[in-house]
Amino acid sequence: MAVASPSKVMTNVEAVRSTLYDALKRDDKAVILGEDVGNRGNVFLITKGFIEEFGPERIIDTPIAEASIVGIAVGMAMEGLRPIAEIQFADFIYPAFNQIVGEAAKTRYRSNGEYTCPMVIRTPYGGGVRGALSHSVSVEALFYHVPGLKIVVPSTPRDIKGLLNAAIEDPDPVLFLEHKRTYRLIKDDVPDEYFTIPIGKANITQEGTQLTVVSYGLYAHQSLEAARKLQDENLSVEVIDLRSVRPMDRNAILDSVRKTHKLLIIHEDNKFGGVGAEISAMVAEEALFELDAPIRRLCCPDVPAMGYALPLEEEYMISTDRMAEEMRAMVRF
């Protein structure tokens, strides 16, 4: 009889919190820096109580200056600390673009390995929370083009723990994108013990034979839900949660496409130049003749972000029903 290892049910936001807590306990080189992470304990209360326990030297309430939050973390990382920088909302990451793209991503390369940049930049992203133009954007496509960065987009509490641990252990800079709509929406069992999930390994959340659906973040949940609905109609859909978009799990996608012969990519970020474009190109290069239907991408519209008014947000976001409809159409193609 297998003995179940001890575990706890937690939400996504609790998983971020408990993983960060364990990291601070485990390694005194780990520091957290960002706006309102100390006194308030982060705007989602992720680091609540940390400053009392670990002190203001390791839980740093920074001035409002994203370029230096990331830049200072780069310097800390170069000198042997393990900084975990926070950008309060992904929408505010733009002032730090230079430090992420121009500096963190290139430190190892430009010094030919003499200096490295083992750091994590965490930030909540994504919509469906009435966040309007500036509290709802997806930023992964802006960064996934950049060699030298790793980009993680976890969707479940267990993945958050395993991948955040992996990101903190990682010898290179990792952008860790947490979908804020999933923070309190998604709840699951998380093992108590320390574990990592390798960055770049996708998760097949449902096996199927007629269509491959690739997604991540909030839409990993919705596409799974849609695929489950379709089971009642005897349609068999395989669902892949990418978990990271750089590196991306080529084999998981190709193995699945070779089995189902159809590919649908669903993401919240807009379509043009998005993650789906890279996946489509890769599959076209590697497995074009396996396909029985054109590749399809179901993405949010090519506008800067969703508006605040409810009809604008609803028009922007993709409903589970729309996903199911698209899947049906593709299976029947």
């Binding site: 006194n39 705007v43 001035p63 409002i64 200056a65 994203e66 370029a67 133009l133 506008v303 508006g307």
Partner: protein, 345 residues
């Protein structure tokens, strides 16, 4: 020099009115009342579940009403930030326009796209801005450059921001550029001593934003931001200097954020009730009322009538805005470029 109130909040014996007429003084007071009323309305609507988000500016009434009085309508440009409800209505943004923003209606200036409090109106010279802190500051400098290049004397830009925002690189870069080019612009810091949960001493090495002016080579000055008349005086002098081509200034009024940062925040988790109560005791709205009454500029009945009037105005604006339609789904796609567009041609 006698001021409308001292920094401890006591009324002074004689009122230094900086040349303002009785009507202007009453207009400042009315603006303060209107700001508070509209502010409260946002929170009421949020509690009633009619709007998902509200952000208040209580504690900023004096600094904003005073600054608005120093703004020359039809000439100057305002580059505001999200806490500038009083400045917006003080320069001609109407209560209906405020409510349209709160309700995110189609007729809102930005069509219900942005969060509430992100007011803009080309008609009254109030520039559009995003939620990204400090991003409006270089825009304001650019606008000032345009005024200067066109040799439009008698005009200036007023740009406002919180204390926390002065940590951003764009803030520093903007002051430097404005100083180099001696642009017609006034940088007005509404220092409410907090940036969400971050107090001043964690935001900057010394607590006076205006002192940085010297380092950039422009004049700096501070004043009591709970005092609408001291604010008026400081902003008017700085704007006059800018309008006359003598260059930019950095001025700073100290006030306080009485409420949590927004409806998504709970300030009890990071600051004491004693601190908030101590500041509340200096609430500029009843203080200024008292001063106007003591100086026979207002009688108590007038004050009551004004309060009724701003409530009526707020109620009418609420009803009118609520009855108006939301933007439609198709409105998500307009105004991205000029004309119709597709990423593929």
């Amino acid at each position: 020099m006698a001021k409308a109130m001292t920094s401890t909040g006591e009324a002074a014996a004689t009122l230094e009115r900086y040349g303002l007429t009785d009507d202007q003084l009453r207009a400042i007071f009315r603006n303060m009342l209107l700001q508070r009323q509209l502010d409260n309305r946002g929170f009421q609507l949020n509690r009633q579940g009619k709007i998902p988000f509200a952000l208040g500016s209580e504690g900023h009434e004096a600094i904003q009403a005073g600054a608005a009085m120093a703004f020359k309508r039809g000439h100057d440009i305002l580059a505001p930030y999200y806490r500038d409800l009083g400045l917006a209505v003080g320069i001609g943004f109407t209560p209906l326009e405020v409510l349209l923003s709160l309700f995110a209606r189609a007729a809102d200036h930005n069509g219900g796209r942005q969060f509430p409090n992100h007011y803009s109106s080309r008609k009254i010279g109030m520039m559009s801005f995003s939620s990204i802190l400090a991003a409006q500051i270089p825009h304001a400098v650019g606008a000032a450059y345009a005024i200067a290049l066109r040799k439009e004397t008698g005009r200036a830009v007023l740009v406002t921001f919180g204390d926390g925002t002065t940590s951003e690189g764009e803030w520093h870069e903007s002051l430097n550029f404005a100083a180099v080019h001696k642009l017609p612009i006034v940088f007005l810091c509404e220092n409410n001593q907090w940036a969400i949960s971050t107090p001043l001493h964690q935001q900057m090495g010394q607590p006076h934003v205006y002192k940085r002016a010297e380092g950039y080579g422009l004049p700096g000055e501070s004043f009591n931001g709970f005092d609408p008349l001291a604010t008026y005086d400081a902003v008017r002098r700085a704007m006059e200097r800018a309008r006359s081509g003598s260059g930019p200034s950095l001025i700073e009024g100290t006030c306080y954020r009485f409420l949590s940062h927004s409806t998504d925040d709970d300030d009890r988790t990071y600051r004491t009730r004693e601190e908030v109560e101590k500041q509340r005791a200096m609430d500029p709205v009843p203080r200024f009322e008292k001063i106007l009454i003591e100086n026979s500029i207002l009688v108590a009945q007038d004050a009551d009538a004004l309060k009724k009037d701003v409530l009526r105005e707020t109620n009418e604006a609420t009803d009118a805005a609520e009855a108006m339609p939301f933007p439609e789904a198709k409105d998500l796609y307009t105004n991205l470029y000029e004309g119709a567009w597709e990423p593929w041609q």
